[in-house]
């Protein structure tokens, strides 16, 4: 796609969408949003960039391969799942630490979902585009 307008705008829109995706991720526990929805928005943002530039360009911007992100996400999921063991609680118990900010293992869990979904879906998207173009 060679439209200058589309190209220029897509960079700005991708940035805004990524910001929005992080915003949705953080507000997810109390308002509509969350890791899964945030991740899909991030993938669409990268997809936009992929259509205006190229899959290689997106890969270069990401620095890591999507699958690596996905596996890091799974690792974070597993860590948040076993943290309760160290406090004598069963697997996947939500633990909270609300002294300063409302932090808790569910947030970590959601971060894992966020990264894993970005990694998985973006991985397929980039691959399909590269193989078919």
């Amino acid at each position: 796609m060679n439209s200058v307008i589309f190209r220029t705008a897509s960079h700005i829109v991708t940035g805004l969408m990524l910001l929005f995706s992080v915003y949705l991720f953080f507000r997810g526990h109390n308002q509509p949003g969350g890791g899964f929805i945030g991740a899909l928005i991030a993938v669409i943002a990268f997809g936009l960039l992929m259509l205006s530039e190229s899959a290689e360009y997106v890969r270069a911007q990401l620095k890591q391969t999507p699958l690596f992100l996905g596996l890091v996400g799974i690792l974070i999921l597993m860590i948040s799942a076993v943290i309760p063991f160290f406090f004598g609680e069963p697997l996947l118990t939500g633990l909270w630490w609300k002294d300063i900010l409302p932090l808790g293992t569910p947030l970590l869990f959601d971060l894992g979902v966020y990264l894993a979904v970005i990694g998985g879906v973006l991985g397929i998207l980039l691959k399909v585009d590269e193989e078919l173009s």
Binding site: G33, G34, G35, I37, L77, G94
Partner: protein, 743 residues
């Protein structure tokens, strides 16, 4: 720098089993120590561990031999690729095995059981560039994996009968459910699991096959630890099943057959490592036989034999590893007169073989004495089988030592390089084999009070059995023992003739690996056939198959639902408008000649659905729907660039169109009918009520959908997310392959 880091990591993996050994020794308070952490309390599955005589014997062997194996592997694997992952796999295996013997919950035990199967698969296939390694690793995993699944069935039945999955309770309640109709079935399943894991006849062949692994693995997994998991399980469940006739008959027959047949097969081998592998089968047979007898003396003999075998067999395997390193071969014919070069290994080999053959005063002698004692208390046939098995072992021990180390060199003998300047190669086998001398001479009292007595307490309910003594006077077992040694020596005199006879004999009989291959091939043929029927490579055919099945399920659903559909037109005008729009869109998709129009219209249906979710105030669902819809349009748009125009491809035949239309109509009609039926009843509100009531107090979140995803049903999410990533890996792999196939 990288080298230092590697050394540090390897050092840590040597230290870990040592620390675990210390932990076991200091935590254990005879006769029983129990530990517990919560895991899945709602299912009554917790991380429960027990240290009693039986588990401490195994745990001590696993960690103690583990330290020595890790040390030995440091020297043995020097310069080999992927050393770090090798040691890591060994460590993972050790932890799984430790979990297996310490678990006090049978489901937990099963999890660790399967983990040992998996890690053992990876270790056997460590030289994964060789076809044989991969094949034998798969063979070991399939055989033990099938056994593992059967075992799971048996354990579930056992747990259901005892109404608990805790080992202690299962044993305690054994008399209550002995008459249950499930009892025999569960026994058979457990036996299949234990026999496959401990390589009993007729599935003994996977164990020699597993010798494709590097020697440290064979010494650790396939002699000292993993193959004894089946024996451990049998010993654990002896108090539950021990009194049944099926138990003593099947264990007796399986054990004796394995012992005798594998003893003969061992003498037929030309590879020293395979001889040892088959002789491990023999010892496993002996152990099963002893547990089948199940008396106090038999159990003492089994416990002694487990320790004795771990000491001498792991040591002998390591010696064979040294021989392999020094000469580059393990063939009996090519090895002669190695003693001048491999002096220390010779000492270890002699001490180990003495224990294997049961020369006094080794641990092997002690266990053999008690074995004969148990046999003479039992019956004549068992005793004869025992003597036969032990005679074969004596001959085998002589075969292993005399010619390779002391024989005259001839023109076939290969040259032996000195390798004993690597201290870590010979220290571990020397320590292990000398343990077989040290324990009966100096530490027998400790062994008795820390292992045998507490083990008796849990296995037979008798905490103070007769003390084990090295010398108990001249009696029938001692005479049998001397007779065994003498016959073994005599049999060794005729070894060449015996070897030729055995080669002729085994050539005529069907063998295990062949039967296994035939079974595997027939499975492959079957799956080829069903693949060619179902996977014909036509996309339209696949889609049709899928929707036909869906239609069938829906028709059945309508048929099976008793509620009557209720039609109601109670809706706002804009809801009608959305509905009408969606129907129009669907019609456009069908008739449109342009693919782009179809896709855009399909997207429109998705967005209209989103609107419906919005109207019914489900913002999260509608948002997800919106995003997924957008992504699918992006995906389809990318793929579409490669497809030819719709007007360029031939149209479906009329008949085909009728079939597809009728399937589509069936699905649509049944779906609509089902929805009407379901909504005619008021929905069960208890779950939504529960989640909205407890979302804030329990999970500190006001967005119920998100709270369900990350907290209430987090385990489901965990699985789903893993599926997303695994699917991505698979998809990426498939796309790559497709491209390669085309170019």
């Amino acid at each position: 720098m990288a080298q230092t880091r590697l050394n540090l990591a390897l050092g840590a993996m040597v230290l870990l089993p040592f620390l675990l050994l210390l932990w076991v020794l200091f935590t254990y308070q005879p006769p029983l120590t129990q530990l517990e952490w919560a895991w899945v309390p709602s299912l009554d599955v917790n991380l429960m561990f027990r240290l009693d005589g039986l588990s401490v014997l195994f745990a001590g062997l696993i960690t103690g031999v583990g330290v020595l194996i890790q040390l030995y592997a440091l020297a043995y694997m020097k310069g080999k690729p992927a050393r770090f992952s090798f040691h890591l796999l060994l460590t993972l295996f050790m932890l799984s095995m430790l979990g297996l013997v310490l678990a006090d919950n049978i489901l937990l035990l099963f999890v660790f059981w399967e983990l040992t199967t998996l890690t053992s698969y990876l270790l056997i296939g460590y030289n994964h560039e060789e076809l044989k390694s991969r094949k034998n690793a798969l063979q070991a995993m399939l055989v033990t994996g099938i056994g593992g699944l059967t075992l799971l069935a048996g354990l579930l039945m056992l747990g259901n009968m005892a109404e608990s999955y805790q080992l202690s309770l299962i044993i305690e309640r054994a008399p209550e459910y002995a008459n249950s109709p499930w009892f025999t079935a569960s026994l058979i399943c457990v036996l299949v699991g234990a026999f496959t894991k401990s390589a009993q006849f007729p599935v003994h062949f996977w164990l020699p096959g597993a010798m494709a692994a590097p020697t440290p693995v064979s010494a650790y997994l396939h002699s000292a630890t993993m193959v004894k998991a089946g024996v451990y399980l049998l010993a654990r469940l002896l108090p539950v099943y021990g009194d049944t006739a099926l138990w003593s008959w099947s264990l007796g027959i399986a054990g004796a057959t394995t012992g005798l047949w594998c003893g003969l097969l061992a003498l037929r081998q030309t590879d020293l490592k395979l001889m040892l592998a088959f002789s491990t089968n023999v010892v496993l047979g002996k152990l099963v036989l002893l547990l089948g007898i199940g008396t106090e003396t038999a159990v003492s003999a089994a416990l002694l034999l487990i320790a004795a075998h771990a000491f001498y067999k792991a040591g002998l395997f390591m010696v064979i590893g040294i021989v392999d390193k020094a000469s580059g071969t393990r063939e009996y014919d090519l090895l002669s007169g190695m003693r001048p070069v491999l002096g220390i290994s010779f000492v270890a080999a002699v001490v180990g073989s003495a224990s294997k053959a049961g020369f006094p005063p080794t641990m092997g002698f002690l266990s053999k004495e008690y074995m004969y004692k148990a046999g003479t208390y039992s019956d004549l046939v068992t005793t004869i089988a025992m003597v036969g098995i032990n005679v074969l072992l004596v001959t085998l021990a002589l075969v292993l030592v005399i010619k390779p180390f002391l024989g005259q060199k001839d023109e076939k003998s290969v040259e032996i390089k000195p390798v004993e300047h690597y201290k870590l190669l010979w220290i571990p086998p020397l320590i292990l084999t000398f343990m077989g001398l040290l324990v009966p001479i100096a530490l027998l009292g400790l062994f008795q009070s820390a292992i045998i007595n507490p083990a008796m307490l849990v296995m037979l309910g008798n905490g103070a059995p007769e003390a084990v003594k090295l010398w108990s006077g001249i009696n029938l077992p001692l005479i049998l023992s001397l007779f065994t040694l003498a016959s073994g020596v005599v049999l060794y005199r005729f070894y060449p003739a015996l070897f030729r006879f055995l080669v002729r004999l085994t050539g005529a009989l069907p063998n295990g690996p062949e039967l296994y291959n035939r079974a595997l091939n027939s499975v492959i043929r079957f799956s080829n056939w069903q693949t060619s029927v179902l996977q014909h490579g036509q996309l339209s055919g696949y889609v049709l198959q899928f929707f036909v099945v869906l239609a069938a399920i829906l028709v059945f659903g309508v048929y099976a639902t008793s509620a009557l559909p209720v039609l109601s037109f109670d809706a706002e005008f804009y809801e009608f408008a959305i509905g009408v729009l969606m129907v129009c869109c669907a019609a456009i998709i069908i008739v449109s000649p342009s693919r782009l129009t179809s896709i855009a219209t399909l997207g429109m249906i998705g967005f209209l659905t989103t609107l419906i979710f919005m109207i019914y105030s489900a913002p999260d669902v509608s948002k997800t729907q919106l995003l997924v819809e957008t992504l699918s349009v992006v995906f389809i748009a990318i793929v579409m660039r490669r497809l030819p125009l719709l007007t360029d491809v031939p149209q479906n035949s009329g008949r085909r169109k009728v079939v597809q239309a009728s399937v589509a109509a069936t699905i649509g009609f049944c779906m609509a009918l089902l929805m009407l039926m379901i909504t005619s009843d008021p929905l069960d509100q208890s779950l939504p009520q529960y989640f909205s009531d407890y979302s804030v107090p329990f999970a500190h979140g006001r967005n119920v959908v998100n709270v369900i995803l990350v907290d209430f049903r987090a385990f489901d999410t965990l699985g789903e997310v893993v599926v997303v990533v695994v699917a991505a890996i698979a998809a990426i792999g498939v796309i790559k392959r497709y491209k390669k196939g085309v170019s």
